[in-house]
Symmetry: C2
Subunit: 392 residues, 2 copies
């Protein structure tokens, strides 16, 4: 008796048509996985590699139902989708991974923090506040410096502020719009001398799990902005294992198949805390396309198709850096010095097919592979010094 | 001053829409390379990943002209195309890589052998024959055993026979159709105790060149059919270097940019001979998708776009095996035991999207990666024992 499986048996429905969708579809191409996706614009990154698009907003339950009629299993490549519509698909017996119950917790940073606390997952101290009691809660907060997060609607650093009490009072006096959040706030303790890492966790439909090696976020010491992501991390083996264990514990608490990126703070003193979780492929897993036996995208395809998980071992050390629109360029653009970059061994360019740039817009990323972490850093600096977005 | 290049500046026109086209387009997807291809059926493998198809025969000069109007630079993924139509594109100033002059030599195995002889490229002794003088030439041939090849129209082993003089006379008496070739024959010396390897050679538009590590063809000792392809080869470093040098010499003689697969015989006694050259991506380079810094497909894209060549270094030892339709299955099919195969680290399945199988039809291939050649062989045997094409 053979166990018989077709490679192309199920159609995957995806909410969102951004670059994560594009890379998911690219990972399925060698085995001809079929996809249909929902996105409101028809020149989105995913449309470059998939012609089966439902045109509509990720909030529109009617269009989500149209998507539902065209596929067998569902996922989302962005958190900002209509979670009630997903829950109603589940009630109709459709499979959505991660489950809508996961997304409704993760969409609200307040619920997310409470979820970790309830499940004994180490996370930094916090308190929740509404617009009405925010000032009172800040005054009562134990430390002078703290992080203020909007519970909902933040994205890519928006809705997250590092403040001290004096700065906060200035913002209150100025009626700053960063203090306008209808869903309320999380006031959170600041991590001390922390390294930030991310652990991608995969949970298959049969409940089996695996974790990727921790990927470290390296910050520019001058600008304090995230500079690049590198794996393996600079942490000890013990601490890496601790990160994987806590990430796995946090994801298991959600009790759902799916691919999850767990962002962690690792304090110099030894504490490891879950910051937040993205229930989808993540920037910190882009490097896995070239550096791991199984990329995060291939892994998510396997999860959705009910296949076994693949090896997450790192074949080579790797780093990833975003290609971001510079402050002074708007509109159509070109990649300067590309030819020189292409002569460097182990450099992989990914462009998201966005036809115009604007300040800070994510236009693509590149990954570098090398034999050692030191060589990776050297090459990363070299490519960063060369590659440039310029007006066309 | 910056050197400015767009990633997406040129459209590549491809004659042929088979699996090689599909994999070429997959390699261009991360940087959004644009393609248009010509193929007579619209359910061909390339159509799964590229919607810009010109529907027509590869012999039809009108349709080749339609293709020409839609792209900037041209290549072919199969040798059986209208070479005169390509030459006329070149006369109109279009770039075709490899040049049509290369293809007109390679399409005719007689011209190809004469070309190597003329250019002092080591190749096995041969003589040319027509249908009229074939019997006379065979009688006069020095060895009892020899290889008989049709000068034109052979493909995937068709049109190539290993014969001895007695067997030949039997075929003559039976008026065997293997002896009907309007373009004539090559009678060729048999390689002695030879290992067969393939070296992929890349030539950029600026004339720079690079070679991939030799890939060895391993034959099944019982059936004498090609079993799998493995890199690195089992040859000594010296012999590998000799293979790369001869492959490069042969390709340089053609004086054209392009990607070339050079098949070589390496005799136990030390002789290295060029067998034949394919002016396109090749089976023996499939493994480069996962095993080399730059795949053969990415390399061809770079050549066509006028970019610098990428590193051909092997990141991990690898082997590739075709997934071929079994003798007893026709029609729609499934891949049996896929799930078990997917649990093995470093196994990559590529299916060509062919909806039905027939005996010996190439439906896909798989590549295995491992840390050593021995481990690669072990895994290869394991996967071969599991993966099976069965009727749906």
């Amino acid at each position: 008796m053979h166990q018989v499986e077709t490679v192309m048996s199920k159609i995957i429905g995806v909410l969102g048509g951004g670059q994560l969708g594009k890379m998911l579809f690219e990972a399925g191409s060698p085995t001809n996985v079929s996809y249909v996706f929902l996105e409101k614009t028809n020149d989105c990154p995913a449309s470059l590699v998939c012609s089966n698009q439902v045109l509509g907003s990720l909030q529109d339950s009617d269009q989500i139902n149209v998507l539902a009629s065209k596929a067998d299993v569902f996922t989302y490549e962005i958190e900002h989708v209509n979670v009630n519509a997903l829950a109603s698909l589940e009630q109709q017996g459709k499979s959505v991974f991660p489950k809508s119950s996961v997304l409704s917790i993760i969409q609200d940073k307040g619920l997310q923090k409470e979820f970790y606390a309830k499940n004994q997952v180490d996370t930094l101290d916090f308190t929740l506040a509404t617009t009405d009691d925010l000032q009172e809660k800040v005054v009562a907060w134990s430390d002078d410096r703290f992080v203020l997060k909007h519970r909902k609607g933040g994205y890519d650093g928006k809705g997250v502020q590092l403040l001290d009490k004096q700065k906060f009072e200035t913002l209150v006096a100025a009626q700053d719009e960063g203090l306008q959040s209808e869903y309320g706030y999380v006031i959170e303790k600041l991590a001390k001398d922390a390294i930030e890492v991310s652990v991608i966790v995969a949970v298959a439909q049969d409940g089996s799990t695996t974790t990727y090696p921790p990927c470290e976020m390296v910050f520019d010491p001058r600008s304090n902005l995230m500079d690049y992501l590198i794996a393996p991390s600079s942490l000890s083996d013990d601490t890496n294992q601790q990160c994987e264990a806590i990430a796995l514990q946090a994801v298991k608490a959600f009790d759902s198949p799916g691919l999850f990126a767990v962002e962690l703070f690792v304090e110099a003193g030894g504490g490891v805390y879950v910051n937040e979780i993205a229930p989808r492929p993540h920037n910190s897993g882009h490097h896995t396309i070239e550096s791991c036996y199984t990329s995060q995208y291939e892994q998510l395809n396997r999860i959705l198709l009910g296949q076994p998980l693949g090896s997450t071992a790192l074949v080579k050390p790797a780093a990833t850096c975003n290609i971001v629109g510079p402050r002074d360029v708007n509109g159509t653009y070109q990649l300067a010095n590309l030819d020189e970059v292409l002569t460097i061994e182990g450099v992989y360019i990914h462009m998201y097919g966005k036809t115009s740039t604007s300040p800070d817009r994510k236009l693509g990323h590149f990954t570098v592979l090398a034999d050692t972490r030191e060589e990776v850093v050297y090459k990363m600096e070299k490519v960063k010094g060369l590659l440039e977005i310029v007006a066309e």
